[in-house]
Subunit: 286 residues, 2 copies
DNA sequence: GATTATTTTATACTGACTGTATAAAAATTT
DNA sequence: AAATTTTTATACAGTCAGTATAAAATAATC
């Protein structure tokens, strides 16, 4: 990613989580980044576009870590689900993201609004599918409303904790607590056939569809070619492209490279989507 | 209440729920109310103060209706709880309040922020105490976190419903569904002794303490004296003051007057707090 | 009914904000 | 070395919240 763009994102991120989104003016960002106004508007059409770019990359980081956490584990293990829920809570805490979500979720700005709807939809879909993984297909009719249950309960407990205690939030305890509560309530709910949302479905969100393992090498190759100036990243992506093309890709090597890439803050969102897709295919490799 | 102040509140309310809080400028409010800037700042120190005044009166309306709904009913009836939860949902729907809560809850403005913390605390305390009413004192150690459960679940289901369906939200179905889920989960939770928040308590919010039945007549009388210009309200408050002072106040009459007052949009928040207190004492009357 | 006090209006102003525009300077690419 | 792109500095338009003030309208008091 262009260093100026990265500078701006870093500065904006720092300001947003400290002062909050609204109170941080574009001028503040420019001063912090040591960059002029023209440059800012060269990369972002508006302040909210800048915020969305930040959220996008965090979302991608969460998804990658969740995929990594499930790797080699049984998908129906409730503890894996708890661990994955914990990943979001942990990242939100570490990066102080609550105020960012807050600014976004209930924003009046139509672009931010629809962005947050998309983010929300993705999260609900992901939790729903994990609920079916864990509790079996008899849980499917109740998965969506229990995704809402999980999401809402986590959110409220975090909020509540901050009002009742000055101690650090026990995030792991929280996520496993919520999963236990989920387990209890969903079992009874299935038995009672008690449903609210019923058969209604969320409008499909993008990004959930998989890029096939066959397509990935060419796409990665195409991307690698754009990375001439970033020697390190270029090497890694180039390697992925060729390795995934051969008969039996070396899984451990691929995973290692993915981990390195996942920790690289410089990468474009376009690339990080590709990386997520590789993660998803990882357990298909020998 | 001063007619100009009422004009401003009505105009602001209309704009806030249609355009949202942030996009409504003070100038918009002035135009809508047909009032000049000086007048606005004569009654409200800022735009957010105006919003808080609106929220305050709605909160009071909700609390009064909830008290009325429980009147003469058994406090441990889960259906009464569902009905009371429904009251908030219904009022929020009717008055399109979601966007208002949204603007407030996650605001950066420190005054709004602490106001919303207070509102939130009151709601949590109220739900908690109702949970103990319904599920008995063995539910007490779990009441607070289940208040968070109820609040978060309701919120999420409303949000979800709006994404999956264009139909009107089935609010009554929602509230009774959540109460059933609460019933299921809290029973298992008590059995499992599984708690997250533990013994931690919310910092006490004001307004929860009762004004005694003995004090009320004098306080009402004092207030009535300030209402010389509002003949109708003055009559009603004056009546309450004298009626509550006598040996055996006529309950039906008092209740009727309270209902009339509850529907009066003109009353000051100071008075509406007194009215709430009378509601709370109502079942002590013969 | 006249005088005094209060409320309301109209208007101008400050300072902060987002986003646009533009010409010159700096850095990159060809 | 020349051409192209990026970056800077700066000025500008238009919006906003909130302050200030003098004049007009209304209400309260004697």
């Amino acid at each position: 990613m262009n260093p100026k763009k990265q500078q701006i994102l870093t500065a904006a991120y720092k300001l947003f989580i400290n002062k909050g989104y609204n109170p941080s003016s574009i001028q503040d960002i420019l001063d912090e980044a040591g960059v002029s106004k023209g440059t800012f508007y060269n990369y972002f059409g508006s302040k909210s576009e800048c915020l969305m770019a930040i959220m996008e990359s965090i979302g991608s980081e969460i998804r990658q870590q969740r995929l990594a956490a499930a790797l080699g584990m049984l998908t129906n293990d409730p503890e894996v689900l708890a661990e994955q829920l914990y990943i979001r809570i942990k990242l939100n805490l570490e990066k102080n993201l609550f105020s960012l979500y807050e600014s976004i979720f209930y924003s009046q700005d139509p672009e931010l609004k629809s962005f947050s709807v998309k983010q929300y939809t993705l999260e609900m879909e992901w939790i729903s599918s994990r609920i079916v993984d864990v509790f079996g297909k008899e849980a499917a009719p109740y998965a969506l409303e229990n995704a809402a249950f999980v999401h809402g309960y986590v959110q409220q407990l975090i909020h509540l904790w901050r009002l009742v205690s000055i101690d650090e939030l026990p995030a792991e305890k929280l996520s496993s607590f919520v999963v236990r509560r989920l387990q209890a309530t969903i079992t009874l709910q299935i038995a009672a056939k008690d449903s609210f949302i019923g058969k209604l479905k969320l409008p499909i969100a993008t990004l959930s569809e998989l890029i096939s393992l066959e397509e990935l090498p060419t796409m990665l190759k195409a991307y690698a070619d754009k990375l001439k100036t970033h020697a390190n990243t270029h090497q890694l992506v180039q390697f992925l492209a060729t390795e995934l093309a051969i008969e039996v890709p070396r899984k451990a090597l691929v995973e290692s490279v993915l981990t390195t890439l996942a920790n690289d803050k410089q990468i474009e969102s376009e690339l990080s989507i590709l990386i997520e897709q590789v993660w998803k295919h990882l357990d298909e490799l020998a």
